[in-house]
Symmetry: C2
Subunit: 264 residues, 2 copies
């Protein structure tokens, strides 16, 4: 089983769009794929399955079990119960709820909360081939959980100035987690929302190619309004616009991710 | 003294751009203006004054004083010491540092952390005419502080589908804070990143006009690449592109904010 986290502390850079696109392309290949939504804002959950009123649904179920001390005795089937089907075969979702926003405060001072996700994914066992984690735009317990659970981190970066500043901070966060876990976390920086007509985009891509050459995905994901139409239709971009340019970039990225995972 | 908070839990909708533009336009009119950056990601701080290595600089100084119990005995001058000058006359900044990200955990279980900002602003007294607060894209202690301190909330919303879903959640958050403070918090929803060439933008604006008619600012802020160029130049949009279309929308908004504040 491979686990990828899609993170960036900067908001609105295309994390959710990237996570849903990659998860959908993996499922299309017949791989049993789980998308975990760790953002209390629940963009990916609302996009794929709509709102949910049970505050304890999905991912929160795993954290609640840790909060009330029942995690160790929970059977594997109870971990799987947090996952639901989506409209696409082979694509499941562990949804987010706003209750996740209170976790930082509720878990303060208690040990062991950084690895709740790692444990839950391990308990899911062979039910899934691939796991993709969509992160919230903040450094905190939820992102630490995602980084601890992931074998590789995908960092979407909008190709413009303010977002580039954010990338330097994201790199420092990753280095902090690598030191505390005594392991390297391989990363791929994915240029997104690229608009080849504007100087701001071109200059930002140039700077990315200079400063992050060794980890940069060579093709930027272009700005493509069909991605927004896909979100309104509640369909993952590969189902809504299979021959689109942005989906094409994601398709080649997924081929590389699978190749590396199988070689790993 | 008027205090406005610029918030939205959804990331990348134009909060920082809106906060900097409004603060700069207020300063241009000769009003002594303070921009408070509450985002641990520090976009506004890096934009206006660049990086800072002292983790305890700026806003963190106010929260540290509350954490170590020295806030009540701190002289007003020590509160003012958290504010620094920017390149624009009459525009000061209380910067953010990444240390703010740990506050939720460090303040957990302790009373009175929701009003640190309200107290700090009161202690600044007559040094400033206006205060603008740029919020992080998450529901938590920092946003609660901003909402508690503000007389009015400005909510930038990107004119597209995923961001509209986020607005419903932001409204629920505001109602929660209003109930706990037993006061109404007037709000203005500001449509941003409007691209009149795309269906996604037009449909989103139509929906905003239907569902939020009574609080919606009538003119959307258009997508304008000169705002990105301004960010790269480290200059607030009104200084970089005074006659621009996006700046024009912000200018009319500021006239209304001042008018309402003086009438209020
Ligand atoms: N390549 C693209 N072309 C056009 N629009 C895009 C593209 N990628 C993302 N978007 C749009 O940009 C907006 C931000 O994307 P998204 O919500 O995926 O970012 P995010 O990083 O997950 O945001 P948050 O920080 O709130 O979690 C959304 O409206 C999305 O539809
Ligand atoms: N009207 C506009 N036209 C073009 N670009 C814009 C406009 N408003 C904002 N932007 C750009 O969109 C990106 C997101 O804006 P900004 O950083 O202000 O959003 P935010 O809501 O503060 O994000 P975060 O959630 O990370 O705090 C930035 O690159 C900014 O330069
Ligand atoms: Mg997202
Ligand atoms: Mg911001």
């Amino acid at each position: 089983m491979s686990t990828w986290a899609v993170c960036n502390q900067k908001g609105g850079v295309g994390k959710t769009t990237t996570a849903i696109s990659i998860a959908s392309l993996l499922a299309e290949k017949g791989r049993k794929t789980l998308l975990i939504d760790l953002d209390p804002h629940a963009s990916a959950s609302v996009y794929l399955v709509g709102r949910e009123d049970d505050a304890n649904a999905g991912v929160m179920r795993w954290f609640s079990a840790e909060l009330d001390g029942s995690a160790a005795s929970l059977p594997a089937a109870a971990f799987a119960a947090a996952c639901e089907e989506t409209k696409q075969p082979d694509l499941s979702l562990a949804r987010a709820t706003p209750a996740l926003a209170a976790l930082e405060r509720r878990a303060a001072g208690r040990e062991g909360f950084g690895r709740v996700l790692t444990t839950a994914i391990a308990r899911l066992g062979a039910r899934f081939d691939d796991v993709i984690i969509d992160c919230p735009p903040t450094l905190g317990l939820l992102m630490i959980n995602a980084l601890a659970a992931a074998q590789q981190v995908l960092i979407p970066v909008q190709t413009e100035h303010l977002a580039l500043e954010g990338l330097a901070r994201m790199s420092r966060t990753l280095e902090m987690v690598e030191r505390s876990q005594r392991r390297a976390i391989p990363r791929i920086v994915i240029p997104t929302l690229f608009d080849r007509r504007t100087r701001a985009s071109l200059l930002a891509l140039e700077r990315l190619r200079e400063e992050y050459a060794s980890v940069l995905w060579p093709e930027p994901v272009p700005i493509d309004t069909r991605l927004r139409d896909a979100a309104r239709a509640g369909l993952p971009p590969p189902l809504y616009d299979p021959a689109g340019r942005a989906v094409g970039v994601y398709r080649r990225l997924v081929d590389r991710l699978i190749g590396a995972a199988e070689a790993g």
